[in-house]
Amino acid sequence: MHAAEDPLCKVEDLGIAINGDVPVPIVDDISFEIRKGDYFALVGESGSGKSITCHSMMRLLPFKPKIKGRIAIDGHDVWSLNRSKLLAFRRKSVGMVFQDPLAALNPVRTIGAQMLETLRIHFPTADADDLRNRAVQALREVHIPEPGSRLGVYPHQLSGGLNQRVMIALALLGNPKLLIADEPTTALDMSVQAEVLDLIDEMRRKNDLSVLLVTHDLGIVRDRATHIAVLQNGRMVEQGPAASVADAPQAAYSKELFEASSVDWPDRDQTRRSREPLCLTFNMVNKTFFASKKDRANGVGIPAAKNMSFTVRRGEIVALIGESGSGKTTAAKMAMDLEKPDSGDIILHPSPRNFKDPLNVQMVFQHPRDSLDPLMRVEDQLHEVLSVHGWKDRGKRQEHILKTIEDVGLSAEVLARRPTYLSGGEAQRVVIARALLLEPDMLIADEPLSAVDVRIQKHILECLQRLRDRLGIAILLITHDLRVVFEIADQVVVLRYGRVVEDVPVSMFTDGARDEYTQKLIDAVPGNYDKDGADGEKNDGPPPAKADDTVMMRVLP
């Protein structure tokens, strides 16, 4: 079809370095092409240089770079354009959507003002009414409800999803040929992510747009992209048509990456819960947060928990799932007695080990390095924990520490380091190790994976699984990521605005979830989208788990 034409975008041997006495290289030797109608995904972990690369395509780098190579888009050699041609290029040829929509919009100006500003550039002779109509029309096209009334509104008054739609509308006002989207969904809730990506797809079809999507989330690219390029540490490791790169990656790094992010439908066959002893019970717990005394008097509050009931048993991993505002973090705090419920019971049952001692519960937090004293060496911090709890013998402490470090899959050499010198994954496992030192019966992990890259997430999940399997520790896992749930959870509790919407073993959960909200969450998991289906219709859900289908399940239905 388009093969004979020149590509819309051609990047040749791109190298970017920060200028300075010693130039710091960011990316090197990057080459790729985007043709008309392509949906090109640039993937990589943080630090891979993907964001810098896409910013460089519009000359939007935050620093003065040393550039090698050539970027040609829509017939322009981007880095040799003069000021006025650069402005014209940014207006007509390319549009960009950024990661955090709230930050990307000017907080002190209304949505309308910002839209009119851009519209005026494209339609300098139009009068005020005409411009306003165009603005409303643009908002309508991105499916913003009541577009007329949104013009006078400020960005902070809209949700993240709506703001991102505004951003997309703004980027497309000039009818560009290429839309660059830099992690457009990372800052959004999972159910909204799918909507925004669908919108981009729709815009692509309607306006005959090419898309360059930059992301670390491989599930997205499997679904929607036509081409994938993988970046690692500033170099391009692999690229090609989406299907071949995603399903049969050649390079070792790509293999690791895709494997770590693949959605494994759980093959655990249990349909009933085990009869192990109870560790934690939430019984009709209620808690509401009020913004002010007046709100409290009026009963206008944010429900963090409403008749919340669920249990956690020995040796199982219970995943508490919900989007932001669902009350999952509050539930964790209440379980740790950091917050008191307004009503209802939170029961910590006697330790399953001997039924005499109270339950030993430890917590693992979201930001690993924040949980550790940045100045003390890991070893000293671990020793301190034990000595505060009565372990007087230094030799015994050392022995126990070494064993625990091994249990979490770390090597002993992290002990001598300070937390700043640990990677995120190492730090998180140190925090887990610290929690394990006291031989807890139960671990509460509050979003332990969100601050870490996808390959390390796998290590941490394996670590948690080991703890459950070998030590019989019960784990209450708080997360918003369903893929994590599928990977290791035994029981799934879905929260929405403080209510328990679903509380089932994980296999039943994926077979035929009853609640429509849960179904929405499942559908939103990237990796669920059948791009070969007619008109992008979604499937009814994942296939039922069958033992000999394990291989098939890694590939999308």
Partner: protein, 307 residues
Amino acid sequence: MNFGFRLLRALISLWLIVTLVFLALRATGDPITAIFDPDNTTQAALDAYRRQWGYTGSVFDQYLAYLSNLLHGDFGFSSMANRDAFSVVTDRLPATLELVGCSALLMMLIGIPVGAIAAINDGGRIDRFVMTFSTVGFALPNFVLGLGLILLFAVNLHWLPSNGIGTPEHLIMPVLTIGISQAAIFTRFVRSSILDALKLQCVTSARARGISEWNVFWFHVIPNALLPLVTITPLLVGAMVAASAVVESVFGWPGIGRLIVESVAQRDLAVLQMIVMMIAAVMITTNLIVDLTYSRLDPRTSLARAH
């Protein structure tokens, strides 16, 4: 929080200051003997003054009398000037206003463009030069600068008068002293506000849409840079007040600043208390204005929650 609430809070703060001053005066012992030398005044006269200013009766009665005096504009009797404190202070007010007003103007005339250019230049030669100037200006005490100017322009070159008030020439050196001194810090603030605004994601996003640098600067950078600058206004006003106290003494400028020093040296508590309350009122008013202005400028503060 609306205007009425904030106004009420401001008035309460003012009342608290007034009460504190009252208590402080009482803490030094009998204020009458502090103001009137008991050796030179007859007991009858002392009693008469006591009655006149309500220093009789219980502390609470005295307090009420004190408040009522204040509301009538009676701030007591100045011992060093031999007339009511109110007129002593108000006589000197215009001189200080003139000095502080012109200095503030100079400070902004220097600070805003220099700070903006430094921010845009970030890291370049101009920027480093400006930062050096700012550091040096900050370390140079204003009275040293003033004396240096006197040494140069008055003593050596005989171009400008070193003392007093009256002609525009008298105004030049004092204004230069305070203006340059304050400009050092102000430039830094301007620079860092604009620098932070330049780094905002919304600026990059505006550039991405092909908006010209000029428009990006005036419609996206400046509005966001104004916010932190507005919040430091009370600090600047306070610094000006402090500077005037010293610089007026250097140049013999007959303003409030010098009056403070004189009244402290001569223990004229009536004048001192009036000046303190006046300064407090100015600061409280400034804070109130800044508060209201900020909520006007930043839509995130005055509006409630997201739809």
